[in-house]
Symmetry: C2
Subunit: 345 residues, 2 copies
Amino acid sequence: MEPPASPRRVTIVDVARHAQVSTTAVSKVLRNAYGASPEMRAKVRRAIDELGYRPLAAARGMRGRTYTIGVMLPDIRNPFFPEILDGITGCLEDTDYQVLLGPGCNGEKEELRVTEAMIDRGMDGLVLVAPVSSRDRLDHVASVLPTVVVGRHGHSPVYDTVVADDVAGAALVVEHLAGLGHRRIAHVEHHETDPTRTAEMPNAQRADGYRRAMRSLGLDAEIDVVSTTYTQQGGYLGAKELLARALRPTAVFAGADIVAMGVLEAVGEAGLSVPGDLSVVGYDNTTFAALGPISLTSVDQAGREIGRNAARLLLERIADRGKPSVQVKLSPTLVERRTTARPGA
Amino acid sequence: MEPPASPRRVTIVDVARHAQVSTTAVSKVLRNAYGASPEMRAKVRRAIDELGYRPLAAARGMRGRTYTIGVMLPDIRNPFFPEILDGITGCLEDTDYQVLLGPGCNGEKEELRVTEAMIDRGMDGLVLVAPVSSRDRLDHVASVLPTVVVGRHGHSPVYDTVVADDVAGAALVVEHLAGLGHRRIAHVEHHETDPTRTAEMPNAQRADGYRRAMRSLGLDAEIDVVSTTYTQQGGYLGAKELLARALRPTAVFAGADIVAMGVLEAVGEAGLSVPGDLSVVGYDNTTFAALGPISLTSVDQAGREIGRNAARLLLERIADRGKPSVQVKLSPTLVERRTTARPGA
């Protein structure tokens, strides 16, 4: 059996005829070129919608663009990443750009596969969220395609970065807990294997910020870091380890809300209460943290704002490949909820 | 300023030289053709990894394939969809296929945009999860590209479907609650606007299953459906409406776990307790439902199994465009947790 034949493709000529304008006018609107009036745009857009016209991305690609932006996320289960994505798609809403996502790719090998796939498929630009690839690799990707790196610190001459100040965010958490009277404040971090990458990763910066804040409060002896992963399972395992300590911490700073989910799971399993037996703080201020029965104290790093900035910088870089690289750093805030209280409260 | 020049692309000749095999052998391995021994495959794969070789998707595309599968999800915030995605990527792991996701596209217009983008970008096949587009539109997409539709009931000669039995799932919920002694069991559904689409949508099937189960238990007079959306916000608004009733329901069947999240939020805000004042049941059995402080009774529709089936059917259809269409239907199970109990328990 042969596949059914595709219906005839609608062409620019059909659109022009339907809109009762010239093909040049249609072409101008399609290219977002100057010189097309708002009325003309509306007319052409309506004809495009009514006829279901679409320019072949491949054909457009030959003329230089496919109007596709690839976004690589490390983990689609982490409820923080949809916030960034909302910011990106919100910024692109009134453009012809379409976002395609690489699914969760935690690890250098998967990142290689996804970025190569996106390059091969002719994307116009990439947003890489918290990539773990080497700097050389990122520089290479950015030399091939306009690239914005989100959530990873460190400057490159070839790509732009958007980060939140993770050291400051961790300090907000430690100061909040110490202010409530906690001293034994532990931290569940995402394990970082590569020493050259360490300083650039948001997780490493949070762990560093935690250590620095503890020291500046004279709590050096209480520093207690468990290394797992930024997943629910990681939080669960980290908390199990902390709860088994001879002298249990009275507060846990989870490096991400999804980690805090796992911490809460382990605390519940152990028959302990939050915040009575243990105060818990997350990071990212996801919709999950705001949820009534959870009501998690968390750090808000303004994911949508991060996404908006990333999309804006990428459009600028697509328009001018050679522009100097830009670094945007946003300041986080602490959102206090019901998972933190005085020790033994 | 000109963009920096890309480094020279690694070719199949480099790979053959590095692996000390013929270019024909490399080509065989790349095409997954018969006649390449496991040793040969390993050798070539190693050389490919070491040199960072990648066949140009566009070039492969001209030979008929791009080894890209587009997956369209209605909402990346809903924690059920990563389960389906895990099933898809798990099934494709040992193949050359790369998955790219269309970000949340709730609505016909956005679905049109995403599916057209995927067709334009030369994907080899599509998995559409709970699409709301018209049957004509789905048939059209499937006539252009091999397509599997997930979670939407109804048969088509041109695409395969994978669904869970939503009517049976809803009956499990109602029977569980009635078995505990509940009579005033309300349902928060996802509002369906299009009457011709209604019968095919999973949300409509769940609402239908709820009504049927209530009737078969003699609870016709207690049927109470609030129409919102399958989002946390939808659950929140639906529960607010139900809690304002003169005679409050004693149990709420939320059509999805993400809806139950919103219900729990509203219940907490109203100062009521679960399950003491209200039993709550979700649907999808996400990792969120299993979480200690939540411990949500939910229907497990085996998302990974759904994803695995979808990927398998798609690979079969890519290999044979003309094969008869297949419908897979999986049976859901109920997972009882702590959000359900006797009324007033």
